[in-house]
Symmetry: C2
Subunit: 165 residues, 2 copies
């Protein structure tokens, strides 16, 4: 799985996430509640809400794209408060990932990646991608899925995986 | 991320999963309940239980190892009923993955992978690994994590990621 393939897998999975949110909207309508009550749902009082899980998944995808291409990541101030705004965030990140081309990330695994939280230290791009970006990204999308599933949204594994390319 | 690196990432994450279960045991003890009440916990009535999530994560890891090495996957009849048996299952799969060497999986991405459920059809090893094994594996470990977290086990992102290599 190359850097480019990882970015495509993240983009596809974000697209799946948006479809789960669409299904959540249909479910909410059929049950007569506002879908946005799910925005602040969380699996435990000290766990991330649905909003935060989606923001984090978007960030993991965005940062991988930017670090892999040696670009400054676009800024998103985490102001989303509802499904409509979260879906817009997802689409913005998908559009950004679409601008990162295979040729831009050809040498990504050899780049130094120095996220802010590392306080000046850095990781090789390869290790960042394999040991951090992949597990972190799938963690947050699955937690978002889990919150919807726990609240009754009818989702299954084929929704999670989406269409095989 | 090569086939070998994917297998190592899965093995490390299974090791993390076993540590979450150990923390669940400590938490259960501190709260005075049997940890095995968590075995049948699930996030929704028609979602997999903790037992099934762990079994599925183990299977995703085992199948990737076996398919990548062109071996027949070892059989596990899914008879686990408690934490002790699940931890044994995890260790068995980790041991199996340890027998799959980098040289065994060198040509894995070009192998034909024909899981039973595909009814005679096959996928290139690369596509199986990237589009199925990676998302599926992280789906099931994260759902296992989510069940523990939802039931109060004190876990955080560093537990999920484990130690960076």
């Amino acid at each position: 799985m190359t850097p480019d393939e990882t970015i495509r897998l993240f983009a596809k999975t974000l697209e799946n996430l948006e479809k789960w949110m669409e299904k959540a909207g249909e479910y909410a309508k059929s049950r007569g509640f506002e879908v946005d009550v799910l925005s602040t749902s969380r699996l435990a009082p000290d766990a991330f809400s649905f909003i935060q899980q989606v923001q984090s998944a978007c960030d993991q995808a965005k940062y991988l794209g930017a670090y892999a291409a040696g670009q400054k990541p676009p800024t998103h101030p985490d102001t989303e408060q509802n499904f409509a705004e979260l879906r817009e965030r997802i689409r913005t990140v998908k559009t950004y990932l679409g601008t990162v081309q295979a040729k831009d990330v050809a040498g990504a695994d050899e780049r130094k990646v120095a996220p802010n939280w590392m306080g000046g230290r850095w990781l090789p791009g390869h290790d960042y991608r394999v040991e951090m970006a992949v597990p972190n990204f799938f963690f947050h999308v699955t937690m978002a899925y889990a919150i919807l599933r726990h609240n009754g949204v009818p989702l299954g594994k084929s929704d999670f995986l989406g269409t095989l390319d």
